[in-house]
């Protein structure tokens, strides 16, 4: 009995102090609160029918974005804890162990469970509407992608209170993360959760690649695609070719840890560098996976709010293709100091600098789009305009880091930390916020409040610069990343304090955003036209939110900025009057994706704790659900013409 209690106390980390108890308490309260609320308002059936089983890209996109905002909160809390720990010399606010776990989960969550679902959320929200089709190519697979991401995120977050979080950094370099140095389930959480979400992401890449290649409305040639859709197309290609590399890197490391093989160990002929190469062959394309869609969002927002067509459309496309190709040949710049030799380092230094050229082309194109435009500074546009200088700082410091001899000075210092936060926050997060303000009315039929939006932007943007700009100097002064605490007398203390103040300000900005969401849901201006920004692409041609089938009749496209052209010539989105509707083929909802992801979750638990029975049950469950799907022949229905007529009449499109 005593043994069981001891095991449970250790397993649930009750011996780890108040931080864990507080988390347990909050998780318990949130879970009970959600269950009680759903039961009290009798919402279980609504939740199941409308959300958990949906295959509708618009709803899946919304769920991705909700998850991304929740994960931004979790990752942001991690960031604030780290900043609190570093705010002054010799602090022991966190223990060293906890600090290591928190910087690891911060990085992992922000990249894989915040940035990825945010951009994939926008893929779902915007792409099918922008190309004039009714859903993605594989709606059922799309639901599987989402639920795999969801169960992986759940698994990863569970590590905080069950068994311990990973502590090897988001890059998880061996040999430190091998069992010999880092026993326990922590690293397994990292490996298994990323593996599961990675499978979902590959499926998303395949899905959107085929959607954009094959599902475009008639007349929507590739060179008429909205720029966001172009960015998704390129990103999908990168996903399809980069994510399998991550799959392999994670799998090999997991085999090392679970089954005692010798891929990356220091004994038995292992080769730790092989992991580092594989990781970054995925890892560098990955940063373009999260930035290219942000570029796409920016192109949409800048063009819409300058009320001009995008400047240099073909140059934008060519530069994205160039970035995609170059992204696969720069990975060694993440470890110039690991002794690859001058020839190799020079090649990768030059290829890295070359990326600045297409990126510069894009920045100039946005500027020229605004030039002589009728620029309207809405919240979305503020984020887009804020993106340009902030991302520029990130990009230019990136070129500094790409110079191998100089990199020996900056490598793994706070200079690097500041650099990638300028690209990932100043780039991806600003882009995502621009997208949220821009597409919010299309998703929910409500506009976010502009005044609160401005407060959100300025607080967050100023806080961000106060937080990260000083870190460039900390890097020059010798402060290394992942440092738990530091002695007084280096002159780092006051700069770190300033940085922490900035981080708190970013937190305030986030809270203003949450307040804006809540306030606007209740009092926000309703979007009755479906086109609140005088938009240019097809998603603004339909109601907000769009009907289940998106378009009653698939529109015929006559040029770029399709909806803008239709408005100019006074055409209806449903084409000439009197064309009869036809019943619309729609995929059925299915509960299987969420059940399948539950089995992935169970199998994941098995691999994390090496409980093989659980792993076998989980994998068998996955196989059985796949087989069931194979035998499912009645997986679609038709929306009758009367219902389409009713919906279209209500939208005033008859």
């Amino acid at each position: 009995m005593n043994g069981v209690v001891n095991w449970a106390v250790h397993f649930f980390m009750l011996d780890e102090g108040p931080l864990i108890w507080l988390s347990d308490f909050l998780i318990g309260c949130a879970t009970i609160g959600i269950i009680v609320a759903l039961t009290y308002f009798k919402l279980w059936k609504w939740l199941w029918d409308n959300w958990l089983t949906t295959v509708d890209h618009k709803k899946i996109g919304i769920m991705y974005l909700i998850a991304a905002v929740l994960m931004l909160f979790r990752g942001g809390t991690d960031g604030l804890l780290m900043r609190a720990q570093l705010s002054w010399p010799n602090l022991h606010f966190l223990t060293a162990d906890h600090y290591d776990q928190i910087f690891t989960t911060h990085g992992t969550i922000m990249i894989l469970f915040m940035a990825m679902p945010a951009i994939i959320g926008f893929f779902n929200v915007a792409v099918p509407l922008q190309i004039g089709c009714r859903d993605v190519a594989f709606p059922y697979l799309n639901a599987i992608s989402f639920w795999l991401f969801f169960s992986a995120a759940l698994l990863f977050n569970l590590s905080f209170v069950v068994g311990g979080s990973p502590d090897g950094g988001w890059t998880s370099y061996p040999p430190y993360v091998e069992n010999f140095f880092d026993p326990g389930p922590g690293e397994n959480y990292f490996l298994v959760a990323l593996q599961i979400t990675g499978i979902g992401t590959i499926a998303t890449g395949v899905n959107f690649l085929i959607t954009i290649l094959r599902m475009r409305a008639p007349g929507m040639t590739m060179m008429r695609l909205p720029m966001f859709t172009w960015s998704v197309f390129i990103t999908s290609i990168i996903i399809v070719f980069a994510f399998p590399v991550l799959t392999v890197a994670l799998a090999l490391l997991l085999i090392d840890r679970d089954f005692g093989s010798h891929f990356f160990t220091v004994t038995g002929g292992g080769m730790p560098m092989q992991y580092i190469n594989l990781f970054w062959i995925w890892g560098h394309p990955e940063v373009y996976i999260v930035i290219l869609p942000a570029f796409g969002i920016l192109s949409e927002v800048v063009s819409t709010f300058s009320h001009k067509r995008l400047f240099g459309y073909s140059a934008m496309v060519v530069s994205m293709i160039a970035i995609a190709i170059l992204s696969f040949v720069v990975w060694v710049h993440h470890f110039f100091t690991m002794g690859a030799g001058p020839g190799v380092n020079s090649f990768f230094g030059v290829s890295t600098m070359a990326i600045a050229i297409p990126t510069g082309v894009k920045v100039f194109n946005w500027l020229f789009t605004m030039h002589k435009g009728r620029v309207e500074f809405t919240s979305a546009m503020l984020w887009a305009v804020g993106f340009i200088p902030n991302f520029l700082i990130g990009g230019l410091t990136g070129v500094m880091l790409a110079v191998p001899p100089a990199d020996y000075q900056y490598h793994n210092s706070y200079f690097l930390i500041a650099h990638f936060h300028y690209t990932l926050i100043g780039g991806t997060v600003f882009g995502v916020f621009a997208g949220i303000y821009y597409w919010w009315p299309k998703m929910f039929g409500v506009l976010l409040d502009e005044k609160l939006g401005r407060w959100h932007f300025w607080t967050f943007m100023i806080g961000f610069n106060i937080c990260f700009f000083p870190q460039f100097f900390l890097g020059f002064m010798g402060m290394q990343r992942r440092m738990y605490t530091y002695p007084a007398g280096y002159g780092w203390g006051i700069i770190n304090l300033i940085s922490t103040v900035g981080a708190v300000l970013m937190g305030v900005g986030f809270l203003i955003f949450v307040w804006n969401v809540l306030w606007s849901a209740r009092f926000g201006q309703r979007d009755t036209t479906g086109d609140p920004w005088d938009g240019r692409s097809l998603e603004w041609a339909t109601t907000s939110p769009a009907p289940e089938y998106n378009f009653a009749i698939i529109p015929t496209i006559k040029g770029r900025d399709a909806w803008w052209l239709m408005k100019k010539t006074g055409e209806s989105i449903n084409g000439p009057k009197g064309v009869p509707f036809r019943p619309i083929h729609m995929p059925n909802n299915s509960g299987r994706p969420i059940i399948m992801s539950l089995f992935f979750f169970i199998a994941g638990g098995g691999f994390i704790f090496q409980w093989w029975v659980l792993a076998i049950i989980g994998l068998l469950g996955v196989l059985v659900t796949m087989a069931q799907r194979s035998f499912e022949y009645h997986d679609h229905h038709y929306i009758p013409v009367e219902e389409i007529e009713r919906t279209e009449a209500a939208a005033g499109r008859l």
């Binding site: 399809v240 980069a242 799959t247």
Partner: protein
């Protein structure tokens, strides 16, 4: 509203005898295209395993080398079985296009059987290796060997299970555009595994026997 470049879920191609049966509905054509893209990503997966294997090949840590370990008879039989199974799988597609359900099912059964022969010899090889102490825990080389060849073996196992499920559906529903599409996709998967095996045969077994 559909033209050659546009797919709308639920649209039917006019049944044109020159178009193979598996492409008869837009939905099917989409899925076949999607599966080709998936195979592209699977190819990247195998490339990484190959790269790792090549890096690890000499890192035997005092354990058995590839020259000592590989058995020519075994991997030759495996290769012949798998190559023949690809041929019989192609014959099944041929019969599918001619509308001969029974011949098609027979060829698919033969394909599965050859796949099982392949798997049997592979399992036998693995068991033998383990029995002489050449486990994946022994050295970096053996870790990479078991993982690369084992991943291919897992793919083949999945392929046989999948093909059996397609056979059941063919028996139950006959050759329809849907079952034809399913059979076509599992067959390109099978050919893909055969192509990967040719690389394993060359890079792992032939090279490993010489170097």
């Amino acid at each position: 509203m559909s033209n050659a470049h546009t797919a709308v879920h639920g649209d039917h191609h006019p049944v044109d005898p020159s178009i193979p049966v598996e492409y008869h509905e837009e939905e099917n054509s989409l899925r076949i295209a999607g599966f080709w893209v998936f195979l592209g990503s699977d190819l990247v997966l195998f490339s990484c395993l190959f790269a790792t294997y090549v890096v690890m090949h000499g890192r035997v840590a005092g354990g058995p080398t590839s020259q000592q370990l590989f058995d020519v008879t075994g991997f030759t039989i495996e290769t012949i079985a798998l190559l023949f199974s690809s041929f019989t799988c192609g014959l099944a597609t041929y019969e599918m296009r001619r509308g001969n359900r029974n011949a098609m099912v027979t060829w698919l059964f033969i394909t599965v059987a050859l796949g099982l022969v392949f798997l049997g010899f592979e399992i036998d090889e693995f068991v033998h290796n383990v029995s002489i102490g050449a486990t994946m825990q022994r050295s970096g080389f053996l870790s990479a060997f078991f993982t690369l060849v084992g991943t291919h073996g897992c793919h083949v196992t999945m392929g046989t299970l999948w093909m059996l499920s397609v056979i059941i559906q063919l028996i139950r529903y006959g050759i329809t555009p849907i079952t034809a599409r399913k059979a076509f996709i599992v067959s390109i998967y099978w050919h893909f595994l055969d192509a990967v095996w040719i690389f394993i045969f060359t890079v792992v077994y032939l090279t490993g026997k010489v170097v």
